[in-house]
């Protein structure tokens, strides 16, 4: 059996609105920008010097960039792993039909309503090295002074926690929605057969949820690679030193703040190719393990 309607024109009509929007508003302006990666450009764009691959060679010769790449990998892996496992755990527990869980669900999901910039501000305040309440609590309980702006690794950890927290509401919403599509009879039948909750989770819930999990895997990854510059800008500005300078933040700084269009364009080409390959690999390999009903 196949899902298939024998229609030659309809699919084109169906995708065209999305495609038109993407091409006009995203692809064309991006290509215009990316073309700049072969130039040195003045901030006001009045001077253009063709420099061939200068921006790219500069990138690959820079030890900072390699360092930034490594940090990005650690950051993205941690954000995706944390976001998905904690999101899944909470959603499964929230999915039980128990009184009062509605309130919990609302509150968990609500955290997603904080904008990235505000989230960064709140986290920076909570973790302020001298006056932040979290730092204060940790100092009182464990007598450890959490001065993360004078410790690069710690700063990375805190930024990772903040970034995964920001995505948690998102993950919970989609996991909850996904869990609704798992038939309860299946789980009940398993219960009658004496399967433990843990077994049921791994044998039934997890496979049936895999389409959602795969979707979230891709989305969280794209988030971790591309959408965190606002958060980092407010929390650390890539510091201390360059301990939290992930690729997209470096790109944001060079392009947006330092007005170095050519160099930033080169960076975005590299970042784009890199993540496109990662995504393609996931579609190729990870999707094999997805169970589509």
């Amino acid at each position: 059996m196949q899902r298939r309607f024998p229609n030659k024109v309809l699919p084109y009509l169906l995708v065209s609105p999305s495609i038109v929007v993407v091409i006009i508003f995203l692809v064309i302006p991006t290509i215009q920008s990316l073309y700049m990666s072969f130039f040195r450009v003045s901030p006001f764009g009045d001077r253009l010097i063709f420099v061939k691959l200068y921006n790219f060679t500069k990138l690959f010769k820079s030890t900072d960039y390699v360092h930034s790449l490594l940090i990005t990998l650690v950051f993205a892996a941690a954000v995706v792993a944390l976001g998905i496992t904690i999101g899944l755990l909470i959603s499964v527990v929230l999915n039980q039909r128990l009184k009062g869980l509605n309130y919990y669900r609302t509150l968990f999901i609500w955290t997603y309503a904080i904008s990235p910039a505000v989230a960064g501000t709140i986290w920076a305040l909570m973790f302020d090295p001298s006056s932040g309440p979290i730092v204060y609590i940790i100092k009182t309980l464990f007598n450890v002074k959490l001065n993360w702006m004078m410790n690069g690794n710690l700063a990375l950890v805190i930024v990772i926690i903040a970034a995964s927290w920001k995505m948690l509401g998102y993950n919970i919403i989609f996991f909850l929605a996904g869990l609704q599509t798992i038939p309860e009879e299946l789980l009940e039948a398993a219960s009658i057969d004496g399967a433990s909750s843990v077994r049921k989770f791994f044998k039934i819930t997890l496979p049936l949820l895999s389409p959602t999990t795969f979707f979230l895997l891709i989305m969280n990854m794209l988030y971790a690679f591309f959408q965190v510059f606002g958060l980092i800008d407010i929390m650390t500005k890539g510091g201390p030193g360059n301990a939290t300078e992930v690729l997209v933040y470096k790109l944001y700084r060079d392009g947006f703040i330092n007005l170095d269009t050519g160099f930033a364009s080169a960076q975005s080409v590299v970042l784009f190719v890199f993540v496109a390959i990662l995504t393609a690999l996931q579609f190729k390999y990870a999707e094999r393990r997805v169970f589509y009903g």
Partner: protein, 432 residues
């Protein structure tokens, strides 16, 4: 009676028949500064029926500049845009601006503009952008903590070694967990150079010709950095990030001293639960005297508008410089008033007696020596260089060894190399 009627008729005609000239101003003043800007604009519009200035908050300085650039390239630019001091060289080279001296009539009294501010934004003696929000760095301190630590609250430190000694006393006595904090580390580092008459870059800080080499990795820079590293290790210096954190630490009494912009005076005094003292920046012994340098932003006039609009713009810029207007601006924000007449008027009405902390910055900047080293640094892509220096300072503060100078030199040499590349790339586009 007839005369009055005719007069009224003319006024009516002027307001109704003449189309208003609209002037757009894009600025980055948020928080409590936003109403202060609006007050100026409303005051102007109320007294100039033929002109309407529309002020629009356009995000941070970086966002404002990017927006202005995008608009300029689409031929949709505002009339006036506020740009931070690190954007100075970018604006001068942009080809997108009209220098304000060209707008000014011959009778404008430039001598009245406060000297160091005028010099900072002038090229060959001609002013390019209108001073608006200028400030400098001073030392704030918490008198209550000083007392608790057994220090004289009316004798704040004047030198680096005094500051270190006081800091140790404060930490050891338990009066506060830290001695001093500051944000904007690269800016403070620049201040230190100017304050001790040290060039930050060649070609007289890039003011004679475009800078091609930075000097911050010379002996003086290394000395400052090594001191800071020692302070950090001994818990005298608590560093919490490039922006707000230092204010947090100071206002919650977690550190006793703060190096911060004078434009924070009002907001700090209103939120402090303790007696706030202010004084001059601390000095390192053995180096000459310079002056602290101007920071903040100015108003740039953009190209591509009509003669009539430029006349209106000049009308507005003159209004901003008016004694009462700039006095009010100083009172509600803490930024310098732009003119010497305004300082005199503030003095005459007793403002400084009631608000002595507002006076500190004037005394510091007007008592310093006016050497070329302290006129302000002009670098191509200064924003990027500041970022490099910020990172370098943060890296240095994490140092756990004891060979401060060697490590400071290594880090600063590395940063200087990056900064020189940035300068080289800038001259690649614009020539030397």
């Amino acid at each position: 009676m007839k005369k009055v009627l005719v007069f009224l008729f003319i006024v009516l005609l002027m307001t109704v028949a003449l189309p208003k000239v609209t002037i757009t101003l894009w600025h980055a003043m948020s928080g409590s500064r936003l109403p202060a800007v609006e007050a100026i604009v409303n005051g102007f519009n109320a007294t100039h029926p033929d002109i309407e200035v529309v002020a629009q908050f356009t995000g941070s300085y970086a966002e404002t500049l990017t927006k202005a650039i995008a608009a300029y390239r689409a031929n949709d630019q505002p009339h006036i845009v506020q740009v931070y001091e690190v954007g100075l060289q970018t604006m001068l080279d942009s080809g997108a601006i009209v220098p304000v001296y060209e707008l000014a009539g011959p009778d404008f009294d430039w001598g009245d503009v406060i000297g160091p501010i005028l010099e900072y934004y002038s090229v060959n003696g001609k002013l390019y952008s209108m001073p608006f929000n200028s400030s400098t760095a001073i030392l704030y301190y918490n008198k209550d903590i000083f007392k608790a630590a057994g220090l004289d609250p009316n004798k704040p430190p004047t030198t680096f070694s005094e500051l270190y000694e006081y800091g140790r006393k404060i930490v050891e006595s338990g009066a506060a967990p830290g001695g001093i904090s500051f944000g904007w580390p690269a800016w403070v580092f620049e201040q230190m150079h100017a304050y001790h008459a040290q060039f930050y870059a060649n070609n007289e800080n890039g003011r004679k010709a475009k800078a091609t080499e930075v000097y911050f990795n010379k002996d003086f820079g290394i000395d400052v950095m090594a001191e800071w590293m020692k302070w950090a290790q001994d818990k005298v210096l608590v560093y919490g990030g490039r922006e707000y954190s230092a204010n947090q630490a100071f206002l919650s009494s977690q550190v006793a001293m703060l190096i911060q912009s004078t434009s924070s005076v009002g907001s700090i005094e209103s939120k402090a639960n303790f007696n706030v003292g202010t004084t001059f920046l601390p000095r390192i012994e053995g180096y000459p005297r310079g002056n602290s340098v101007i920071g903040g932003a100015t108003l740039w006039v953009m190209k591509g508008h009509t003669q009539k609009e430029y006349e209106a713009i000049w009308e507005f810029l003159q209004y901003v410089m008016k004694t009462e207007v700039t006095m009010q601006w100083h009172k509600s924000t803490g930024y310098f008033p732009a003119t010497n007449s305004a300082v005199k008027a503030l003095l005459d009405e007793g403002w400084f007696v009631e608000h002595p902390n507002h006076l500190t910055a004037f005394l510091q900047i007007l008592s310093g020596t006016r050497v070329p080293e302290a006129q302000g640094v002009r670098l191509g892509n200064f924003v990027a260089i500041r970022d490099v220096v910020d990172s370098a300072i943060e890296e240095a503060l994490q140092y756990t060894g004891t060979n401060y100078k060697k490590e400071a030199k290594r880090i600063l040499d590395n940063a200087a190399k990056k900064a020189n590349t940035i300068l080289e790339e800038y001259t690649m586009i614009y020539g030397k």
